[in-house]
Symmetry: C2
Subunit: 346 residues, 2 copies
């Protein structure tokens, strides 16, 4: 597979919809209720809170995680009203981590527009993140399930741990693939896994099913993040909705860098080794050609292919986790969603 | 009362101890268990987390809030093991808000030493704050009381709201006393109130008692914050453990500023009005004489006295809230603690 296999479904193939759109259609009525909860609970007498939260929550987010919560609940029971508050809580936790991430990463773009911290300032982003995080817990408390609270408070701690680990590995080319996988399992896959698991949990399903959906969410999250890390170097992409090359500029160690650097070491490619040390480790950039050069090294060394194979492995494992579920339209969409998680997306 | 009445108990009067020290002594065995929980739950495989959290948690914090949780539990029942995890959770929430506050305030000092964000960076402070916040919820979930979770998740949302409100009022001399009180009720008193209330709640006490302890905590928190806001201008203080003049430099609107500005308006004191607009609104500082001049205006206008009267009113209301509790040594200390909350402290 080449980096080109990542390209979006061409427009002429319409009306083919993405599995995420299929999920949105199938769960439209449920999702309307979730959106009502989201809007109602963003409200605050402090105007800056709904302004800032609304900016991000309305900013073209695909609601992927709350849709997965709803879908994983609806696999077993049709009436899933009990999951609405949870799905909103999942979106609030996700939004809170985005707000704090953008402060941490000093990002100026998110979903193709100026990031909240660029407009409202880092201070407001930190505090509104805290507010949304607290609101998420209030929503879960109202849901009344200590098991759900346990799963999502644990996931939240793991997310923060993963972000700190990522920070402490930044600019370090000695980072191993295992360390990278640990970071993304924590910072990204933990919330996907928890979002999927709380669906069957709140519907009172048994342990085995709940664990299977946890595995499904985990592997979708891993695949999603690995593909995202490829896209940061895919300079042909214009519709990613985030700044291309952010990871590179910050010296964030992702799979493409690990594989490219490993290849340079194996081939004793002095020029490539120097390039990676200069850019990733020392953050010394010459000019606008650095990013295309990084991309070029990644293509030639097979690093991007290796990375996508890693992502595809998680796609396979996500799909396998659903074996336990009886066939249904919803299951088919979730199977497709696993594939979709590695395709280009805003 | 003058600003001088704030001075610390002189050393020659030893062995007179502060109510906080009395509480520490009386609850020493319980507090040891709480500290064990705190240390055990700060642990992470990511070394930066215990390093940073430990820096702040071990940094001379008086554990005022968890001590109050224990005390308010022990007013009714001697065996308060069920409150240990909660007390640790309260300290974690407090520490998380400190970490985020220092990022927001761009502080370089906390408790008399370099603030965590100065040493570890803003990024780590944001993320470790998130980690501690999540850990707090994990601890509460283990405690198993949805009522406790409700109280503390509500308090957390209110704290964040208060901080955002404070941010949006910064540099605005039209801020009213009512708005100021709303800010401090949220950013400071809400956690004191919740910390006190969850003690009797976890011990299964009735609503009336729980509400009374909530009121006690609320008014102690209000008094504590108002006195703290006076100390930021009290330039004779050297042992405050925070940077004097921080609020002034940031243009934070606190009671001393509100009263001093109000007095300048009433007396049409053009020089004073200009001074406040220049410094607080426009953050234009001439030299090192600005802070002493602000202090001078606050003393002469009676603003510091007014502010301390406001604090004392909350002390009285905190004490009155304890009327419902039967006499005990612990109750006496809590009554003294209300007074102590407005005295000088590290």
């Amino acid at each position: 597979m080449t980096a080109h296999s990542l390209t979006q479904i061409p427009a002429q193939q319409l009306p083919v919809t993405s599995p995420l759109e299929d999920l949105s259609l199938l769960l439209a009525a449920d999702m309307r209720s979730v959106n009502e909860v989201i809007m109602a609970r963003m409200v605050s007498e402090v105007p800056m809170i709904p302004q800032l939260a609304g900016y991000l929550i309305a900013a073209g987010g695909k609601r992927m995680r709350p849709l997965m919560t709803l879908a994983c609940a609806k696999l077993f029971v049709d009436e899933i009203g009990r999951a609405y508050g949870l799905a909103a809580a999942v979106e609030f936790i996700h939004t809170a981590t985005l707000l704090h991430d953008d402060v941490v990463d000093e990002s100026d773009q998110r979903r193709g527009q100026a990031s909240a911290n660029e407009i409202f300032g880092n201070q407001a982003s930190v505090l509104v993140g805290d507010f949304l995080f607290s609101r998420a817990f209030e929503l879960m408390v109202e849901g009344g399930s200590l098991e759900v609270l346990r799963i999502l408070s644990r996931a939240s701690a793991i997310i923060a741990e993963g972000e700190v680990l990522q920070l402490s590995l930044q600019n370090s080319l000695s980072t191993t693939l295992a360390q990278y996988e640990r970071v993304i399992a924590a910072k990204t896959a933990a919330l996907f896994a928890a979002a999927c698991m709380v669906g069957p949990v709140i519907m009172g399903q048994g342990d085995e099913l709940c664990r299977a959906l946890y595995q499904y969410g985990h592997h979708v999250g891993m695949a999603f993040q690995i593909a995202d890390d490829v896209l940061d170097y895919d300079s042909t992409t214009s519709d990613l909705g985030k700044s291309i090359g952010d990871d590179f500029k910050e010296g964030k160690i992702t799979a493409p860098v690990i594989f490219a650097y490993q290849s340079a070491q194996e081939n004793n490619d002095v020029e490539a080794l120097d390039f990676w040390r200069k850019t990733i480790e020392r953050r010394e950039f010459e000019d606008a050609s650095d990013l295309p050069h990084a991309h070029d090294l990644m293509v030639k060394s097979g690093a991007l292919n290796h990375t996508m194979e890693l992502a595809q492995d998680h796609v396979r494992r996500a799909r396998a986790a659903l074996d336990i579920c009886p066939p249904s339209n919803l299951k088919s969409i979730l199977l497709d969603l696993a594939e979709f998680s590695v395709s280009r997306r805003k």
